[in-house]
């Protein structure tokens, strides 16, 4: 009887380890093909994306697709961004040790986790309570002590922890809330997507330069980034 129990436990362990290894392999492949294979070259970003277990940030029903080159639904009309977008948005704000970053729209928490691998502190605000709770749980589970998640209205930013070196807005908006711009350090960067995650998206980079605020349209992306200028 004991032998049988041992055998079952051993088999279970084997399955668990091979599943975990499977995800790790997929993650490495994801970074090699979808992130580094395109134009994300920042080492810190690539390392971070290699280490964050993306499959734990998606609903169970979506785990099989966690490392696919596309956004996935996480419920409440929200999505976890395509891995490439997460990588690109991380790289574009130039994350470094010692920085504090504000994220508007925690969603699954994946972007915050990737940022947390690089910068000192990540403050993330989610307006949908169950998503905020879920993200908080997973951060705890994965021991991301440098991420703080708040359920609330992202419009006001997070005054008591401002100013921020960078702000990542994960959901498109018709306007950028004035308090967010006020909480961005001079020279700080804000990145924001425009458009629906399932359709054509374009990333915008907002930079504070003195009294002026400069925006730059980055390349448009969807499941696969458009390579318009390359092919012209």
């Amino acid at each position: 009887m004991r032998k049988k129990m041992m055998l079952i436990t051993w088999a279970g362990l084997l399955l668990f380890v091979s599943a975990a290894q499977g995800f790790e392999n997929k993650r490495r492949e994801m970074v090699a093909r979808q992130i580094a294979g395109r134009d994300v070259s920042d080492k810190a970003t690539l390392d971070a994306m290699r280490s964050v277990p993306r499959h734990l940030f998606v609903p169970d029903s979506q785990q099989a697709y966690a490392y696919h080159d596309r956004p996935l639904p996480i419920g409440y009309g929200q999505t976890i961004s395509q891995p490439y977008i997460v990588g690109y948005m991380t790289q574009i704000i130039g994350p470094e040790k010692g920085q504090r970053v504000l994220e508007i729209g925690t969603g699954s928490g994946y972007q915050a986790a990737v940022l947390a691998q690089i910068v000192d502190r990540v403050f993330s605000i989610e307006i949908i309570a169950p998503l905020a709770d879920q993200a908080r749980k997973i951060m705890q589970q994965l021991s991301y002590d440098n991420v703080r998640i708040k359920h609330g209205d992202g419009y006001y930013g997070w005054e008591e922890h401002a100013p921020f070196d960078a702000i990542v807005v994960t959901a498109a908006a018709e306007y950028i809330p004035p308090p967010l711009l006020a909480q961005l350090k001079p020279g700080g960067k804000m990145v924001i997507p425009v458009g629906s995650p399932f359709m054509t998206q374009q990333l915008m980079l907002v930079t504070k330069k003195g009294d002026d605020i400069i925006t730059r349209a980055l390349f448009p992306v969807r499941f696969v980034p458009f390579t318009r200028s390359d092919k012209q």
Binding site: Y76, Y175, P178, S196, T200, T215, F223, V224
Partner: protein, 798 residues
Amino acid sequence: MTSNKGIFRHQIALGLVSAAVIGFQLALMWYFSNTQWSHFAFMVISVALLGFGASGTFITVCRPWIMKHSNHVIAGAMLSSALFMTICISLCQWDPFRLDAMLLFSHPMHVFRLSATYLVLFLPFFCSGLAIGLILITHMENIGGFYFVNLVGSGIGGMGTLFFFWIFTPSLLPGAIAVLPFAAAIVFGQKNRILHIFTLVVFGVMVFFFIVPPALHVSEYKGISKTMQLPKARIIDSRPTPFGFIQVVASPVLRHAPGVSLQFDQKIPRVDAFFVNGEWLGPVFDIQQQRMAGGRHILDNSPMGLAFQMQDPKTILCLSSGTGSQVSQAVSHGPDHITALEKNPVIPQLMHSLYGTGSVYSHPKVKVVPKDDYTYLLSSRQDHDLIVLPVLDAFGGSSGLYALNEQYHLTQQAFARMWDRLSDNGMISVAAWMDYPVRTPLRLVATLVSVLESNGIDHLENHIVAVRSWNMINFVVKKSAVTPQEIALVREFALEMNFDPVLLPDIGKEERIRFNKLQDQDFFTFVDQLMGDTKADFIRRYEFNIAPAVENKPYFSQFLKLGHLFHLGEFFTAASIPFLELGYLLLMMTFIQVSIFAVVLIVLPLVVRRWEGSHKWWTALYFASLGLGFMGIEMVLIQRFVLYFGNPLYAAAAVISGVLVFSGLGSYLSSHLSSNRRTIMGCLLSIAAGAIVYMVVLTPLLQQTIDLAFPVKMVFGLVFIAPLSLLMGMPFPLGLRLAQRTNPLNISWAWSINGCCSVISVVLATIIAIEFGFVAVMAAGACMYGTAWAATFLMSPT
């Protein structure tokens, strides 16, 4: 032989089921437009409508058994139809079947769900078609009268459902309509124990669903669903109306400031928001707080403030004013008079009842006109200092979701009328969201340039001004040349707001990207080409269709060039195409699906029964042509009258019921005619000739009479519709009678062919309208009647 009383009962039952089919179709369209998106609704329902054609195939394949038990089958089909109409919404919302159109292209599971939805919706149409088809087939001796009842029943069903739209919510309406086939089964009356038990079961199910109605599960990606996720979001009012299901949402964190300047440092105002069929219609700005602390309206801090920066207009016309956000901006500038056009009369009424004097439409200087923009422009003689259009497209691009919407107010002709209605220094102001790949702003430039050119303006650059923020561009077209003082004001505005001028008489290259840099300079190159001599060549070469929309093809948001589809695939990767121009692709997908299914349904009887009966070619050609031609012509008539009445609801109601009732009369009259080749050919030739005459004279005649009073226009419209519709009701019953004499086995097959081709026709007519215009649809309709005429040569003269 059925007694007179029996015939009457059968006719009543036929009328009820016919009314139910049209009503159910409209109810489903309404339901899916609410829970998903209207183009998707069009696809799902088109495929499901093939159930009608499939019923004919079924009768043909199983004819001996069905004809033997025809009355029981008819009653059973009516009851089944009532059952499926009642439960179909709940089935579609059942978790394993629940579909989300947004995930269709990315999640294979939703392809299965789509198939399940097709099947669920197919069943009620199949059962209704079976009942109607069998009643017609079993009353061939009196087909004219029965077909009359069928058409009039359909007309009444369409009208009646529009009335029901005021009463029932989208999830309740299909179940409410199920009462009609149930009543039909009772009236039809069959003494059979199994049918009696079935009647009780269906009744029980109907009562159950009346007490416990299905909930409305809206896609979580629709605007209303996302807004309802906001803290303390609540629906403060909702109204089912034939213009759509209106919902008003309030939340303490709901704010609206489209394209507001990044220099804007004040609080963005909280608003309530209106949704129609689950999609954002607009915010409600409190008229009492129209100016922010800085003395400006919130929209004056966006590119939409450009026109007011240049001038102080005294008379303003706001097109498609919706919830009046731009009207509220106009009011804040203190003009003498504002005319706001909003074709949905419920919105101003609802705003007044919810906000009283806080509603912008209650302001003494605002006059609301419940008319379509283009109809108003065609009939109005009043001049304005400023004409304001609503922001074009959706934020971030709509990916072609509005591609099939007819937007007459954005046609070249509409802009030409706006130009005519400007005072000497008047301006047209129109904003668009920046999209990628850039389409909307370019089509707008192409349209504005063509209007200026047609008015003999040589120096275009002196009449168009545009500024751009990080996400929005606003164009102002001025009737007189822009003055140096106005140019200075535009520059001052742009500098203050961190916007960049795009078009100004003496613009510099660097000035265009001072604050908002683009990925490359292509956008400016494109705009300059459209403003220059190479316009035509550029429009021809551009990957997307950006030629100005015209009245004959009023699809401003349709950018896909079919010929460039594969090239686009190479350019942006094939996987991206559905996400660039989804609407038109859904239409093409619908066409392919219905065509394949229709061919299978039409050919199946020939294969299964190894049918070697006579007159197959005539039957196929004749009834296919009628199915294709009838709907095509009806669609053009509806389109023309939408413009004429200025209100899609009146137009649809008047034209659909007018065409069906007059066609029904035609069918009734046809029973007094001999069904010989000569009569049929004469009838078909008259329709084809009539369609060609209508093609030429209808638009000018309607435009000449567009400013008549509404009741006069209604009479005038029905007089227009009557002759052609009357004739169009004759060929089908005449053809069936001819088939009855030559080969009765062909009758149910003819029913199948006609049903399938009618479905194809609606989809095909939309494609033809987009590619070639409505005139071409009318011409194609005439050709189809011509084909039916030619097919008649396959019959013997007697």
